[in-house]
């Protein structure tokens, strides 16, 4: 299956079951769901924090590009969001 980049006008939001929290024991950011734990790598927590159901993917990419100049935001963030949607964390 090819990974379709997330539609630019999708407004991602965490599913109601998901909880985003920092784990001080492991020094990691986690998404907690009924039967699983997703460990967010790198700046994943910042990206997920912007998924409030009001911002579009386009807006999230713009905001992150401004905050992290030079980072491959436009290449990586839509695929990252799509992956979380497939895993049932975002809708």
């Amino acid at each position: 299956m090819s990974t379709q980049p997330a539609a630019a006008d999708w407004r991602p939001a965490l599913v109601p079951a998901a909880v985003l929290r920092h784990d001080p024991v492991r020094g990691a950011d986690l998404l907690l769901l009924p039967e699983r734990v997703v460990v967010l790598q790198g700046r994943g927590e910042v990206v997920v924090g912007l998924c409030d159901g009001t911002r579009t993917v386009r807006a999230i990419v713009e905001e992150l590009t401004a905050r992290f100049p030079g980072a491959p935001v436009a290449d990586e963030v839509p695929a990252f969001l799509d992956g979380l949607r497939r895993e049932g964390c975002l809708r």
Binding site: P16, A17, V19, R21, D23, V25, R26, L30, L32, L33, P34, E35, V37, G88
Partner: protein, 373 residues
């Protein structure tokens, strides 16, 4: 020795009391009496210490956890400790007020057991009339409250041919997830093994059904097939390894690497009343006994699979061979594998149903019936 990684999950067996009497129940045959259960303050302290240790997920389970009048306080203690809570319930005793109180206390999700999709079959397996009706009501309440809802269906000879109907039920009840869990032969399940053991034909049909239904569902409910033991010649990586991922606290505060480990006679498991959870996880002899691979005997010791399946289940090795350090006989490389083969070969298609005993308090542990029943 390297420091063991922190545990992710805690199975909190808040009570062994239960209004149902499922013959496959994984609770020990010697059920803990209510008078020996930990009190509210102790459970709150367990949750606090578990959070500090790195636990992020807890199943509030039993028995039937709704029988604890302080379930709300225990839930709040978990939530305060940063632990995601899932109620594991039979549904019996859940009403709108109780669910609202639990949700207010911080409850995040619910897993509801169902014994069969046919109400009469459900009530017969559960050993309690009208329990299906209670489950149906509980499912609707959880849906109305907007909490994530999963069904857990333990599969065995009596209900494996009817999983299509179970999946239909999950669709009608609008659940998020259906866990089709083949019986594990521990506790009461071991006692009733000859009656519960499916036939290879049943399992093959059920696997096909799951594959067909998965392809036909729009991604929801999610279908989870928990593979059967005994049939494939492979050992399951029990609990992700001994003392590796999760811990179980029994109603009286005994801490175990897996709920079945109470059956190991010389384990001498620690108790939260005597030691901090941190010591129990990192230092106690019980949690270190089968950790890693050093304890292994052949053929596991020199097998490439040993860091993936950890030699299978210690409790099963003990139950079938009398020695918990042996290779799990479910593995085809085990010198004791014939024990498991003969069990499976005696499980015939079309054989008349065998009797089982429903779980009840006060029944003393008996010797397991042995490989040929």
């Amino acid at each position: 020795m390297s420091v063991p990684a922190s545990p992710w999950a805690l199975l909190a067996e808040l009570t062994h009391a239960c209004p149902l009497h499922c013959p496959y129940c994984s609770n020990p045959v010697d059920l803990t009496r209510r008078s020996r259960e930990l009190g509210t303050a102790h459970w709150a302290e367990v949750m606090r210490q578990a959070g500090e240790l790195g636990v992020v997920h807890t199943h509030l389970s039993g028995g039937e956890p709704l029988l604890r009048p302080d379930l709300e306080q225990i839930t709040t203690a978990a939530e305060t400790a940063g632990i995601y809570t899932q109620l594991v319930t039979s549904g019996v005793g859940l009403d709108a007020d109780r669910l609202a109180a639990l949700a207010d206390a911080g409850l995040r999700s619910v897993q509801l057991s169902v014994q069969a999709a046919d109400p009469r079959a459900n009530d017969r397996i559960a050993g309690r009339p009208s329990s299906f009706t209670a489950k149906e009501k509980a499912a609707a309440l959880v849906r109305d409250a907007g909490l994530p809802l999963g069904l857990n269906v333990v599969l065995h000879r009596e209900n494996l041919d009817a999983i299509d109907a179970v999946i239909d039920l999950g669709v009608v009840w609008d659940v998020d997830r259906i866990e089709l869990a083949n019986t594990q032969f521990y506790g009461w399940g071991l006692l009733n093994r000859t009656a519960l053991l499916p036939t290879p034909g049943q399992l093959a049909r059920a696997r096909d059904t799951v594959a067909r239904r998965r392809a036909g569902l729009p991604g929801r409910p999610e279908l989870v097939w928990v593979v059967p033991d005994h049939f494939d010649g492979v050992a399951k990586p029990c609990m992700g390894g001994w003392g590796a991922v999760s811990l179980t606290v029994a109603p009286d505060g005994t801490v175990l690497p897996c709920p079945a480990a109470a059956s190991l006679p010389d384990l001498d498991p620690p108790n939260v009343l005597d030691h901090p959870l941190d010591w129990i996880w990192h230092r106690s002899p019980a949690f270190n006994r089968y950790r890693g691979t050093d304890w292994m005997t052949e053929p596991c010791r020199s097998c490439d699979m040993r860091t993936q399946d950890f030699g299978g289940c210690r409790c099963q090795a003990y139950a079938l061979t009398g020695d918990a350090t042996h290779t799990d006989p479910a593995c085809r490389l085990s010198p004791d594998h014939a024990l498991v083969r003969s069990l499976v070969e005696h499980s015939e298609e079309g054989a008349p149903p065998k009797p089982w005993v429903h779980r009840r308090a006060g029944r003393r542990a008996r010797r397991c019936p042995g490989p040929t029943g």
